[in-house]
Homo-oligomer: 317 residues x 2
């Protein structure tokens, strides 16, 4: 089968079709999406080598549970050891020996097929098209925030950054009833969430302060500084951006203002898929372009260009 492989350089090439172990499903990939992490992996993050990709919708071709066969699914990306303290608390996302498709010790979804434990799969309701369902993984990472911390309808929240993460984060937070602001640089991106009840601001000259909750989703070090400027005393900053290098942080401001920083990564698929299925999150305007999987190399280069929000790949049925 074909796979988009990174092993020091990136190429779409023939790779062996994965062999399905017991308890896992063989999934034909129907659609996949690019995430910033894919790019970071090609910059040395995690020392990854293999088939990239972790955002997908697919159809089950083989499984122990025959009721899954032929069904459309999305899949949680982390696979735990099943035996450690974290796994016993059903938190494979933090298993110290976990693998994660396309990120850590497990081939990804930029391929014709992948295998994943059946327990990781979620059935996609018929009314949710592939190009919507493929957002389940990044949306789940945003749903992680209200799952970690109680966000109140009486809160004022600010999202820093108008990229993929910021545009989804603002949409999730607005469902809490909180007054949600987003600050970014691109009018066309701000427009997307302005239409669904988010108050938007241009980064240049932005000076609003006193937010109860701030989401740092800019992927940049200045974004963290903007977050510290905008947060009120005893406020809470979600940190969504990973950085390859350590970042400089004004810890004295964190201590003196008793700010809480909450690292936030992957999240729960079921509520994310439910939100998509109920039409509560706008994802279509985030899609900049859909490539064919056969154009995976060009798609990869395109995905990180300025102004691009989300790039998807249509795999052959």
């Amino acid at each position: 089968m074909l796979g988009l492989v990174y092993d020091g350089k990136l190429s779409l090439r023939e790779v062996p079709r994965p062999i399905r172990p017991a308890g896992e499903a063989l999934v034909k990939v129907l659609m996949s999406g690019f995430c910033r992490t894919d790019f970071e992996l090609t910059q040395g993050y995690h020392g990854f080598s293999g088939v990239l990709g972790h955002e997908f919708v697919g159809r089950v071709e083989e499984a122990d549970d025959h009721s899954l066969i032929g069904r459309r699914v999305v899949g949680e990306i982390n696979v735990g050891c099943g035996r450690c303290d974290q796994c016993r608390k059903f938190d494979a996302r933090h298993c110290p020996s976990r693998t994660a498709i396309g990120i850590l010790g497990r081939p990804g979804c930029f391929a014709d097929y992948l295998v994943l434990p059946e327990a990781n799969l979620h059935l996609v309701p018929d009314q949710v098209p592939n190009a919507t369902a493929v957002f389940t993984e990044p949306l789940a990472a945003m749903v992680e925030m209200p799952d970690q911390v109680h966000i109140r309808p009486t809160s004022r929240a600010l999202v820093v950054g108008d990229g993929r993460i910021g545009l989804l984060a603002a949409q999730v937070l607005r469902l809490t009833g909180a007054e949600v602001h987003l600050v970014g640089r691109h009018e066309d991106k701000l427009d997307i969430v302005r239409h669904v009840g988010v108050i938007t601001h241009q980064r240049e000259g932005f000076e609003e302060k006193g937010f109860d909750v701030v989401v740092e989703a800019s992927g940049s070090v200045p974004g963290l500084s903007t977050a510290l400027d905008a947060i009120k005393p005893r406020g809470l900053i979600f940190v969504k951006s990973t950085h390859i290098k350590p970042v400089l942080l004004d810890m004295t401001r964190v201590v003196v203002n008793e700010v809480t920083l909450v690292g936030s990564r992957c999240g729960p698929f079921a509520p994310a898929l439910a939100l998509l299925s109920r039409g509560l999150i706008e994802v279509t305007p985030l899609i900049t372009r859909v490539f064919s999987f056969r154009e995976a190399e060009q798609a990869f280069d395109f995905a990180w260009q300025k102004g691009v929000i989300k790039v998807l790949m249509q795999h052959e049925e």
Copy 2:
């Protein structure tokens, strides 16, 4: 009266006795204590100039509320504007226009007298000696932690640092029923808390992991790295140390392990004083030396020497 003044250099000298405004009390200082912040202020922190000191026990000499006169008191150090959102929520500690004795826009307690709003004062029970009551302020800052976050009896907690802050932090946390560990470099300091139920470790070769809660109380940047090594996924790190410069933080570990960092500063006096009064916190072994206030300059130099824990000054009655 005499005051220990920092104005670019440090000196004990004659300064005007403060004039009591309406609503404030004139307090004769009986005993005072040194805090690392006093040292940092002489290194340029906050650009402070004036009488230093914020840890004290005193006796009220003048007050609007006559029932206070002659009573022994400790005093909350922050004075809010009384009108802002924070002050309306009784949180003067985070009032943006606050003053703080000996730190921010208000003369401190390294003097014969100070003035402070009557609302800031707490009566010291007769059975609590001055050399114990003077620990109310630093202890309150430790009591702030269980006031900010629910610490469970089922938690494993680690305190990084065996200085003043660490030795008090470990004692407060152990009252929650949590299994409390402290890692430090000085056997004599570790001894103090080992006798009251804290599990102690030498820093050299320390590799324990999987703590639910870590307190960074070392005042050093490597301390933060030790905290990140020791914390379990989804764990919580209290950050107690201020740093004059921004610190390098491995934010990717914070995000990937979904660690929460909680900045933690001043705390509530009433429960701290209650703990001292009930004999639940050992403070006497922390006192390295008591100077006379007339030796304030020597006391100041002594307080930051290696191996010193806490230095107090006895003022004239």
